[in-house]
């Protein structure tokens, strides 16, 4: 009896090992036999430019490539993407927030697109397709690590119907901005805290406050990106200005635990906020019943117009299974039709120069009262400043977000916070 049991075990063991070894060799889509499947991972959510239609058309044009689309989300990608790549489980194409590029690229996780593309995009030089600012953003260590896909610069979203009802003019200066916010906000339960049509004070990243820093004539880091430069009169002024909305009772601090701001827009707690073009799409899908009530204007100016420049890029991980086919797909997404689709499908702004000039983008939009807000973002882009392209940008972005939070939550005075975080950022840059 014992003998046979032992033999049984041994046989089972051998079978299992053989099975594992056999299934190991295959892999998907062997060279030359049958279509290759590429995995495309994005973070757009419901309103994505990678719609079924778009993908179907690609597959029809390229019978040798099949696309497996994976819907990710911004948070998870920010957190897990590098781990995924290091774990050998890479997609072929992934959307990357431009602010992640320097930090991720420094970990060597991106494929060299200059190499892969031979410098050509859809029949002409890559440089022909983009404005110089974008070209700079896509470069790391002398080569391209991403192809910019959509761009992000800020505009002022406001409740036009409330402005009209309360006789408020669209603000163009900081003083007018504060006044407008005060007139717009309502404190329905009299507790001194704004309850309705408040201005959104968002503290979790550099984007929202940094644009104010730029408008006051300041900058985040110094010329050669070796030290923090935001602890300046412009820094203090802009931080105090941002806080003043909360102190005035016209602003509401929107923290993480509150969920997405679209909630506040839907229940009308928010009446004014500064954000990027993709919010146009979010408003339409998330708050359809507020159609015709919202409008977009250029952000108010202090010393000079200023906005943060961000966006999304398409990258190929260094160990992607099918880099050549991935590049084919990326080129497809940068064709005019798909780029215009970034606007029509996701409500975001396309990144290629050609697409930016498409008349589609400036068609009257019924949601925004027949206006075409796109022009506002395009103008913003022209005067926008991009974030510093340093390896440590991701942690520095977090630090600056923490700094803003600490001031808005009343944990530190603006000057204290500036001092504390200047030290932190300098440490980050040195270490």
């Amino acid at each position: 009896m014992k003998r046979s049991m032992l033999r049984g075990f041994a046989l089972a063991g051998v079978l299992v090992l053989t099975a594992a070894a056999c299934t190991g060799g295959g892999g998907d889509g062997d060279e030359g036999n049958g279509p290759v499947t590429i995995t495309v991972l994005d973070y757009y959510g419901e309103a994505t430019p990678f719609s079924k239609d778009v993908i179907d058309r690609f597959e029809a044009d390229h019978p040798d490539i099949k696309v497996k689309y994976e819907a990710g989300d911004w948070d998870t990608m920010h957190e897990k993407f590098t781990v995924r790549v290091s774990g050998g489980d890479s997609p072929d194409v992934a959307t990357m927030d431009m602010t992640w590029i320097p930090t991720f690229a420094s970990k060597q996780i991106f494929a060299d697109l200059s190499d892969l593309s031979g410098g050509q995009l859809n029949g002409s030089a890559i440089e022909d397709h983009y404005q110089p600012g974008a070209i700079e953003a896509m470069t790391f260590d002398g080569h391209y690590v991403t192809m910019m896909f959509d761009f992000d610069a800020y505009g002022l979203y406001y409740r036009a119907d409330q402005f009209e009802a309360k006789g408020i003019d669209v603000p163009t200066t900081w003083d007018e901005f504060r006044d407008a916010a005060k007139k717009l906000a309502e404190d329905t339960d009299g507790d001194g805290v704004c309850d309705k049509y408040c201005f959104e004070v968002y503290g979790n990243d550099c984007f929202h406050w940094c644009q104010l820093l730029f408008q006051a004539g300041g900058s985040i880091l110094n010329e050669d990106n070796t030290a923090a430069a935001f602890n300046s009169p412009a820094g203090l002024k802009s931080l105090e200005f941002y806080k003043s909305f909360i102190d005035d009772g016209s602003g509401i601090y929107w923290g993480d635990a509150q969920g997405e701001p679209i909630r506040g827009i839907k229940d009308e707690r928010l009446g004014m906020f500064l954000d990027g073009p993709y919010y146009m799409g979010l408003l339409k899908s998330g708050a359809p019943d507020l159609k015709g009530k919202w409008a977009v204007a250029p952000p108010p100016v202090d010393v000079e117009p200023g906005s943060y420049l961000g966006g999304t890029g398409l990258s190929i991980p260094v160990n992607a299974p099918h880099p050549d086919q991935a590049w084919t797909f990326i080129q497809y997404m940068l064709e005019q039709q798909q780029q215009v689709g970034v606007f029509t499908l996701a409500g975001a702004a396309p990144a290629t120069t050609a697409a930016l000039q498409s008349p589609e983008l400036t068609k009257p939009d019924p949601y925004f009262g027949g206006e075409a807000p796109f022009g506002v973002f395009k103008d913003s882009m022209a005067t926008a400043t991009h974030f510093p392209y340093v390896e440590q940008w991701d942690p520095i972005d977090t630090d600056i977000g923490n700094m803003v939070q600490s001031v808005m939550l009343g944990k530190a005075t603006p000057q204290e916070a500036l001092d504390t975080y200047e030290a932190k950022v300098n440490e980050e840059l040195a270490g």
């Binding site: 009896m1 014992k2 994976e70 489980d89 969920g259 839907k266």
Partner: protein, 272 residues
């Protein structure tokens, strides 16, 4: 009387949040934070549940949890008991040393193993796309045999009288058949307790599945729920539907097996 008032009061505090979660899962999104709060959803809707199954693959998450937990429980019950039998009832050189070596691993917090285990799974995945990261094997294998289970069963099996086993051996039975035909039936209550503990741990396991699964379709219920809850959803009703689905099976199992569970739990601790 005050005694029962206190007991009822605290029971409300314990059950209240669950009730609130279930109630909220049936509220339309606008009512989630209605003021004054609606203790009974009115109007009520199944929209959240529908969304949770269509927008997110909650059905898939449920299936994955069932498969993974089932496998872990099954494997543990069989292999833990088998090893426990050997340690409890068989004499062999190195028995005490080996058992001790197993026992001391209980002292190590599992976070110490996390990263290397992850890399092992990465390596397995390179070997074969059916093993390692993003597969059931990564979720099942590390937890398939648990030292705590062996320990538990050994305590239990130690009390089986040796003569039953002796007489079976005298009759010519192999250890394997003794295990299968005599020990397993007697050990059933212990194995049931083991099954419950293992079920609890495996169903609610979070950090490891979070780490080792990247593809949404392979995620387990707790991970799917956590990502939903963390994603700053617009509609908290969805999240509450998710919690109801995740906690539901566990609570139902618990309500039926309460006594056995608590007995198993407290048996070791009271003796001290």
């Amino acid at each position: 009387m005050a005694l029962y008032a206190a007991l009822i009061g605290t029971s409300i505090l314990m059950i209240g949040p669950f009730y609130w979660a279930i109630a909220t899962s049936f509220k339309p999104s606008g009512d989630v934070f209605a003021s004054p709060p609606k203790f009974i959803p009115n109007p009520w809707t199944l929209a959240n549940y529908r969304e949770v199954f269509t927008l997110l693959p909650f059905g898939r998450y449920l299936l994955n949890s069932v498969i993974v937990t089932g496998a872990i429980v099954g494997l543990n019950v069989i292999f833990d008991t088998a090893a426990a039998y050997a340690f409890a009832k068989l004499r062999f050189p190195g028995r005490n040393v080996l058992f001790f070596l197993l026992l001391i691993t209980l002292m190590i917090p599992f976070q110490v193993n996390l990263i290397p285990l992850y890399r092992i799974m990465v390596g397995l995945h390179d070997l074969s796309p059916h093993l390692g990261i993003d597969t059931y094997s990564a979720l099942i294998l590390p937890g398939a045999i648990q030292v705590f289970g062996i320990f538990l069963m050994r305590q239990f099996l130690a009390s089986i009288p040796d003569d039953i086993l002796e007489s079976a051996r005298v009759d010519g039975a192999s250890e394997f058949s003794i295990l299968a035909r005599i020990v397993f039936p007697i050990a059933l209550p212990g194995m049931a307790t083991l099954a419950i503990f293992t079920f609890l741990g495996a169903w609610n396991d979070f950090l490891w599945p979070l780490l080792v699964i990247n593809t949404d379709s392979m995620r387990t219920l707790p991970v799917g729920l956590a990502l939903l809850a963390r994603r700053n959803t617009v509609n908290w009703g969805d999240t509450m539907a998710g919690t109801t689905l995740t906690a539901g099976p566990m609570i139902i199992v618990f309500l039926f097996l309460q006594r056995r569970f608590i007995e198993g739990l407290t048996a070791g601790s009271v003796k001290g």
